[in-house]
Symmetry: D2
Subunit: 493 residues, 4 copies
C-alpha cells in the first residue's frame, strides 16, 4: 500500500473563528513577570502563536522579552524570567493574522514599546483598528518609522506625536483617532493603564492581587494567580492605576455597548465569568435552548470536543437523551490552530480526533458543535462518525449561521468562504450530508445569554456582526479594499 491512507479518517478542526489576542498586566507585586506569565498561560486559548512581556524596575528600566510559541515553553525558564525584573508589567499573547502577507516576525509580537520625551511606555492590544491603513499612511508621511506590520503600532506613533504632556493624556489623544475594537493594557514606569473602546467589544477585567492590581482579558487569569475579581472595565473607560490608587476616566463620547456575543459562544474559557455567570453555564443554557428549538429523537448526544462540550451537556439535560463522548480528542495536541503553516496544520488535523467506534456503532447520534464556519470540519466529522457505523447523524449548532467576517480582532475567512454566506440551512444540510442540521436562532442565542426578549434589532445589546452583518463600527480599511456591507444593515454610525 502507499504511504498514509487517503480517506479522511480524521477531521479538520481548523474550522473555527479565532480570537487574536489576550492581554494581562499587574502592578504592586514583586516578581511581576511571574504573575504575568501565569496569567498569559491562562489566556493561552486567545492566542498561541507568540507572547511577550514587558516589565519595569527603577534599577534596570524597562525590560522586554518576546517569543514565539506557548507561554509554557517560553516564559518558564529562569534564563528568561530573570531578565524581567520589576513590580509592574504587562503581557500579551497573539494569534497570527491571516491577513499578513508572510510569516509573523518577532518584531510584530506585542507589547510595543515607545520612548517619549517624558519617559517610556509599553502597550498591549486586543482587538483591531479598522482605520489602521489610513493612519499608517498618514504617520509615515509625517516621518514615523514603523517597526512592525501590526495595526496596533499606530497607537504608539500617535502617542509620540501628541501634544499632551503626560502619557495617559497622550494615550487618550491617540485613541480618539483610532476606530475599531480595542481592549488595551499599557504601562509607564509607575502606572498600569487599562482601556476599552466605547462599544466594549472585547473584554477586560480588573482584579485585586495582594496589595496590587491586575488587568486581564478574562477572569480565569485572575484565578490562576489567586487574584480576586473586582469588576469589568466599562466600555469606553480608561483606568489609571498608580500605587494602590485606581482612577477612572471616560475619554470617549458615550455609546451604547456592543460586547462580542461570540465570546460567550466560543472565545472565552468556560471557567471565566462574564457578567454574573460562568461562560460554562451560558453555554449549557445555549444547549438547552437549542434542544427546545430543535429537538430530535436519538440515542446519544455527543459533543464535538472540546468546544461543543458544554452545549452538548445542556442539550442532553434538556432532552433527556444520554450524553456520551463519541469522539475522543488526543490530549497531546493543542487546538489545531496553534500552528500557522498549512503543512503543520494538516499534520495536526490527522492526529487529533478519534471516534469511539465500539460506542457509536448502530446508534442515532446528535452531534453538538459550537459553530460552522467553512463547514470543512463538520463534513469530515460526519464521515468519520458514519464510517464508524452510526445509524444517523444530526448536527446541532450552538450559534446562528456565521455569514459575515469579523473585523474587530477575530480572524475569519473571507466572506465567500463562509458556508452560511452562500447556502441556506437546508442547502448546508445537503452539503454536509447529515440527517438533520439546525442552528440556534439569533433570538434564541440572545435569550440564552440572558436577554429575555431576544434581540432588539434597533439597538442590539451585543455585537453580532458575524451572524447579522450589522457592523457597529464601519470597517473603513476593508471597505477600501472592496468589502461590501449588506444593504439592509448599513452600520449605525
Amino acid at each position: 500500500m502507499d504511504a498514509l491512507p487517503r480517506h479522511p479518517f480524521d477531521p479538520s478542526d481548523d474550522d473555527k473563528l479565532r480570537e487574536e489576542c489576550g492581554v494581562f498586566g499587574v502592578i504592586g507585586v514583586s516578581d511581576a513577570a511571574n504573575f504575568i506569565a501565569l496569567g498569559l498561560h491562562a489566556l493561552q486559548h486567545r492566542g498561541q502563536e507568540a507572547g511577550g512581556i514587558v516589565t519595569h524596575d527603577p534599577e534596570h528600566g524597562f525590560s522586554s522579552a518576546r517569543r514565539f510559541g506557548l507561554v509554557r515553553d517560553s516564559f518558564t525558564s529562569a534564563s528568561i524570567m530573570d531578565t524581567l525584573p520589576g513590580e509592574i508589567g504587562i503581557g500579551h499573547v497573539r494569534y497570527s493574522t491571516a491577513g499578513s502577507k508572510g510569516a509573523t516576525q518577532i518584531r510584530d509580537v506585542q507589547p510595543f514599546f515607545g520612548e517619549f520625551a517624558m519617559g517610556g511606555a509599553a502597550i498591549a492590544h486586543n482587538g483591531n483598528i479598522v482605520n489602521a491603513d489610513a493612519l499608517r499612511r498618514e504617520l509615515i508621511e509625517r516621518g514615523s518609522i514603523f517597526q512592525s506590520s501590526s495595526d496596533s503600532e499606530c497607537i504608539i506613533h500617535l502617542m509620540a506625536r501628541s501634544l499632551q504632556r503626560t502619557i495617559p493624556e497622550r494615550m487618550k489623544d491617540a485613541l480618539r483617532r483610532v476606530e475599531g475594537a480595542f481592549s488595551i493594557v499599557a504601562m509607564t514606569r509607575t502606572k498600569l493603564i487599562g482601556v476599552r473602546d466605547p462599544l466594549g467589544v472585547r473584554p477586560l477585567v480588573l482584579g485585586r492581587l495582594g496589595d496590587g492590581y491586575a488587568l486581564s482579558s478574562e477572569t480565569c487569569a485572575l484565578d490562576i494567580i489567586g487574584a480576586d475579581y473586582l469588576r469589568e472595565i466599562e466600555p469606553g473607560e480608561m483606568v489609571v492605576i498608580t500605587g494602590d490608587k485606581v482612577e477612572s476616566f471616560k475619554p470617549f463620547e458615550r455609546q451604547s455597548p456592543r460586547f462580542c456575543i461570540f465570546e460567550h459562544v466560543y472565545f472565552s474559557r468556560p471557567d471565566s465569568i462574564i457578567g454574573t455567570k460562568s461562560v460554562y453555564e451560558t453555554r449549557e443554557a445555549i444547549g438547552r435552548e437549542l434542544a427546545k428549538e430543535a429537538p430530535v429523537d436519538a440515542d446519544l448526544v455527543c459533543p464535538v470536543p472540546d468546544s461543543g462540550t458544554p452545549a452538548a451537556i445542556g442539550y442532553s439535560l434538556e432532552s433527556g437523551i444520554p450524553y456520551a463522548m463519541g469522539i475522543i480528542r488526543n490530549q497531546y495536541m493543542g487546538r489545531t490552530f496553534i500552528e500557522p503553516t498549512e503543512q503543520i496544520r494538516n499534520m495536526g488535523v490527522r492526529l487529533k480526533l478519534n471516534v469511539n467506534r465500539a460506542l457509536i456503532r448502530g446508534k442515532r447520534v446528535i452531534l453538538v458543535d459550537d459553530s460552522v464556519v467553512r463547514g470543512t470540519t463538520s463534513r469530515k466529522i460526519k464521515e468519520m462518525i458514519l464510517d464508524a457505523g452510526a445509524a444517523e447523524v444530526h448536527f446541532r449548532i450552538a450559534s446562528p449561521p456565521t455569514a459575515w467576517p469579523c473585523f474587530y480582532g477575530v480572524d475569519t475567512p473571507e466572506r465567500e468562504k463562509l458556508l452560511a454566506a452562500t447556502m441556506s440551512e437546508d442547502e448546508m444540510r445537503v452539503h454536509l450530508g447529515v440527517a438533520s442540521l439546525r442552528f440556534i436562532s439569533l433570538d434564541g442565542l440572545y435569550r440564552a445569554v440572558g436577554v429575555a426578549g431576544g434581540r432588539d434589532a434597533r439597538q442590539p445589546a451585543y455585537c453580532d456582526a458575524c451572524f447579522s452583518g450589522d457592523y457597529p463600527v464601519k470597517p473603513t480599511d476593508q471597505m477600501a479594499r472592496g468589502f461590501k456591507l449588506a444593504d439592509a444593515v448599513e452600520p449605525a454610525e
Copy 2:
C-alpha cells in the same frame, strides 16, 4: 505581597499510577516510520518522556532514532523521519522509572538493538522483568557489557548467548529465562515479532494495514493509521510475521491469564477496545456501578478531569444527578507527569486546573476520580472546591483503594506512600476532609468490567495486585530489596 501566593489554589495532579510504556510495530508498508510515529503518538498517554523508532531496509540496513520528549515534537520533522527508511519497523514510548537513580539517559531509550552472528534484531518492551537484577549479574559475570540501566536489555543479551540458530528461537530461549510482565514487539531484517507473557498482564493487539500488519499496545493506535483491528495477541503467544504470513507459537507453559484490571480503570485510552467494548463504555459502567454501591444526595456530579470523566458520566446517568464540568483543565498542559523533574512538575501542577467558581458556589458536589494513590491531589482539589464556595464535597472513586505497588511495568510509589496502605476508608475520609468518601468494591469493579459474579479469589480473572496484594508473579528483585508480601496472599506460583 510576596511573590506567588502560597495557598493551594491549584491541585497537584501528580497522584496517578503511571504506565511505563507503549509499543508499536508495522511490516509491509512503505514509509513504515511514518506509521510508527502516528501509532506512537496515539499511544503517547502510555509514556511521555522519550520515544524511539528502529526501521530496516535492504539498502541502509537498520536505522534508529531515539529522542526525549513527545512524539509530536521529535518524530515529525523530515530531518528525522528521512533517516528512517524501510517497510518494517518498531517503536516505543516510555515513561521514566521512579526507581532509576538519576535522570534517564538516551541510551536507556528503547528499542534496543543487537547484532548477532545471524543478523541484527531490535526489541521494544512494555512491562517489567522481576528477576532482572539476578539476570544482569549473571550476564555480567559471563562477560556481557550492558549499555543501559534498563531491565529490558537483559533480553538482548540472553538472545546473544542462546545456542539457537534463528532469532525467533533465540527470543523464545531468552524469554523463558525472564520472569514478569512483557508485551514485546521485535524485528529482524524481514520479520515482525510480537509476544505476550503467559499471564498476558500487558495488552498487545494485531491489526491489518493494507497488505501489511501492525502490532500495537492498544487499538486506538490502529485507528489513527486506518488499520483494521484483527485480534488480541493471546497471553503466552508469540506471532512471527513475514511478508503476509502470520505464524503463531505458544512457547511458554500455559497459565490462566491475568490481564491488568487497571488498564480498564485508567491506563488505556477511552476509545481503545478491550475485549468487545470500548474502554469508555467500561468506565461509564464503573461509574454506574459506583452510583449503585455508593449513592448520595447532591446537586452536581463533576469529574476530576480528564480521567474521571467517563465514570462521572456513568454516575450521573445512573443517579439522575446532573453532570457538570466543575473543574476546568487548561488544555495547554499535558498530563502532569510529562516532566520528570520535581521543579517542572511543581510548576505544572500550579498551572493545570481551575474551578468553575460561578457554577460551584453553594452546590453539593459529587467529585468522581479514577483512583487515589497518595491522596495529595484529592486533598488539594477538595480545598479548591470548598474555597470556591461549594456546600459539600463527596468523593467517589472508580477503583478500590490502591494499597500495593505494581511491579509489572507501572510506576507506583513505595508501599508506605500509598494512602490506602496505612489508612482505613474512614480514616482517609477524615484525612481528605470531605463529607463522604467511597471507593468501588473489588467485586463491583469485576462486575463492571464484565465478570458477572465478581472476583473469584481462588482464580481471579485479572491481575489486581495493586488492590489485593495478590501478585501473580513473585517480585523476586523487590523481595531481595526487602519488599514483603502480604501473609494471606502468597502468590500462586
Copy 3:
C-alpha cells in the same frame, strides 16, 4: 591541589582596540545574499558579535535576517539563506559597544530598515556619530519612536523627516546633520548606495562583480567573491549604483582627509589593499622602521600572535635576528573578544596562547606586538615567557603609545584605563617588568605608511587621535558627558 592553578600561565589577549563594524553590499547578481554572507565572513575580524543581511526582490519585497554570532554559524544554512532572495542587498557585522548599558539586543543589529512614503530603504553603518545623543533627543521630541539603542538609527529617522523627494536626496539631507565618522552602505529597491564621511575616517571600496558591483569595508571581501577591486570611495563621496550605472556625488563641504591610521596598524586584514600596498607590506615596513628606531641585541624575534606577526617579520628582516614562533596560538579560538561576557572572556583567555618552551629556554627574546592598550596582556605574556626560561624579554610595539580613546567607531577603554595615558614609556617598562620597551614614534609610523616626511602637525594626513589626542571632529556627546580634550590639541573644526 585546588581546582585550576592560579598562576597566570595564559595571558589575556583582551587588550586591543576593537573595530566596531564591517559593511558590505552588492547589486546586479543573482543570489545576492550568498555573496554578502561571503563578504561578511571575510570582514568578520571587524565585528564578531552579530551580523545582518537585507535583500530585496520584486516578488518578496525587502527581506531581512539578523543573528548573533559568526557569519559561518548564522548565514550558511539554507533555512536562513533561502529567506533572503534578490539581486541586491547589504550586510553588516558588528562588535558590541562597551558603552551600551546591557547586552546587545537583536534589534540593535544592523542593517536598519525604514519604510518611507516613496518606498523602503535599509542602511548599514561603520563608524560613530558623535552628536547622536543630541540628535536622538531632538527626534524623540518630534515624535520619532526609536527601536534600538544604536546611534546609527538616527540616520533613518532623519531621512524619514527629510522634505526631499528621493531616498538618495533624503540621505544627503540626513548625513549633513550627522557629525562623526561614517562609511555607509545603503539600498533602496533598485539602488545600492555608498557614502564616506568628509574626512574618510573609515574605509569603503568599490568592486566589480560580473555585471554588477560590490561595496565593501575592505578589499579582502572582494577577493573572496572573485570581484575586481576598482577604487576607494573617496572621502565625502556618495555613489549611487543603479543597474550598471555608477553616479558619484559630493554632498558635503570639502575637507582635508584624515583616514584612520590604526587601520594600517591593526584593524584591517593583512591581505587587504589600502592605497597601492597590502596592509601586510605596510606592517612589515612598520617592523623595519621599528628595528631602525629601536634596535637591540637578542637571539630571537617573536611575534605576539597573530596581530604582531608581520611587524615581527619586518623587524627580523631589518635586524637580521632570526624570526621564530615563540608563542603558539591555539587555532580553535577566535580573537578573544568574540564573546562579550566577562566570564567567557576569562575562559577564552586561559585557553588561547602557549609558549614554545623548548625553543625559548635561555634565549634573549624580542617580542613584537601591534599595540599596548591597558597593558594587561603584555604583562602576562612577559611572565609566561620568563616562566618558560627566557633570558631577557624586549618589547617592541608597532604603534605609538595609545593615550586617547577613539570616538569614531572603535571600542576603547576610558582614558584612565589606557596605560599610556598615565605612564611615561619608562614607567611602562618598569610596570611591565621587561628588559626594554620601545614604541615606534608617530613620525616613524607616518614614514612606514608612506608619508616620507613624517607627520605634519598642522595638517596631519591621518586621524591619529588615539596617539595624539588631536580629534578631527569634536566629540560632542562625550564632551557633554565630561570628556576633556587635551589643551594643546583643540580640534581643527
Copy 4:
C-alpha cells in the same frame, strides 16, 4: 552573472592526513573534568569531530558526557561540567574515520565504559586495531553485544571475558590479543592507567599536576593546565597510577620502537616536545634540510598556512631568501577537515585562504607545504598564486612523497588516490603545473628529526610506512579486504 563564480579562487585544504584521536587523563585533582576539558582543548588538532569525558567519584559513581563538536563548544558550560564530578577522569577527542559507512553516531564517541563483575572501567584509545574485524566476529559469536562501530570497543569486550581478577590484569590480557597501534588512557574507580603498544607508534606522555598526575597525547596539553612534563610512557609500557604511586609494567614482548615520523611532520602541535626538542624546532630543521637538498633562486619564501609555516621559516633562514606571508588564512575557520560532510567541507574550502595579491605580484615564490596527499590543494593554491600575478611558483614539500596509506590511527585516502602512488616526482610537477617541485628525501627527514646517519633500512627508527610502504605491523583486516603490500617491503613481523 550566475551565482557564485566558478573559477577556483580558493584552494581546498582538505588534502591532509588526519590524526584520528587525542587522549587525556588526570588523577588526584579536584574538579578533574575541568582539567580534562582544558587538556582536550589543547589536543583539539588531533580530532575535531567529537569528544567525551568520563569521571568517577565515590558519591555519584561513574559520570559520562559525550558530545559532537569542539571542546570549546561542548565542555565549557556549567550545565555539562557539573554533571562530571570527581578527582579522577579520562577524555578523548576524535576525528571521524573515512572508513565508517555512515555518519558517526554519538555511541561511537569514546571513552567507552564497561561494567565488570569487579567494578567499572572506562578506556580511551588513540590508534587503530588492525585485527578488529576478526576480533569483533569472534566476540559476537560468543555473545557480545557491540554498541558502536568502533574498533576500540573490542578492548572492553575482551576485558569483559578475561579470566583475570583485576582490571589492570584484564587489560593486559585484552591488549595481548590486539594487533596494531594504541596509546590508551583508562580508568577504574581509583586507578588511572596509560598504555602504549610495543612499537610506540602513537605518543603518550606523563605529567605531574599538583599532587596528582596527568597522561596526555602531547605535552602542549600539560602546559595548558600548568602540569610539569615528567617523561614519555615507553613503547610497550603500562603505567598504573593509584593515589600518588606510579607503577610501571611491560606486559608485551619487547620490540624495537617505531614512533610515527609523521607526528614530527604534521600531527603534533608545534609547541609540544618530542624527545628533547619542540616540534617547531624539528620542523624548522626540516625546512633547513630541504633548503640544502633543494635550493632555488627566488624572491620570497611563503608557507602554505598554517602547517607549512615552521618549515618555510627554516627554509628562509637557511637560504637567506626573505620569508613572507603570501597566503592569508581566515582565522574564523578551523582546519578544513573539522566537518565530515562533503557539503560543509566544500563551503569551508571556499572561505579559508586568500592570496596577498599586492605582495605576490611579479614575484618568484617558493611555496613550502608539509605534505602532498592527493595534490588537490596544491594545484588550487598554485592557480591562486599565479592568478594573483606571481612570476614563478616553486613547491617545496617538508616530507617525502606520501605513497602508502596509514593503518595505525590516521585517516588516509585509498592508495590509488595518493598522488605519489601513481606518479613520479616529475610527473607530479607537470600535473601540478609548477616551475619546480621537490620533496625532502626520506634520509633528509631522518636527519632533520635527529638520526644523523639517515634511515637504516634494516631497522628503521620510525614508522614511515606512509612514505616507504614498510608496515611494522601486518594490516590484517585491510589485507583481508584486498590491500596488497609492496613486494620489497613485506613487514618484519
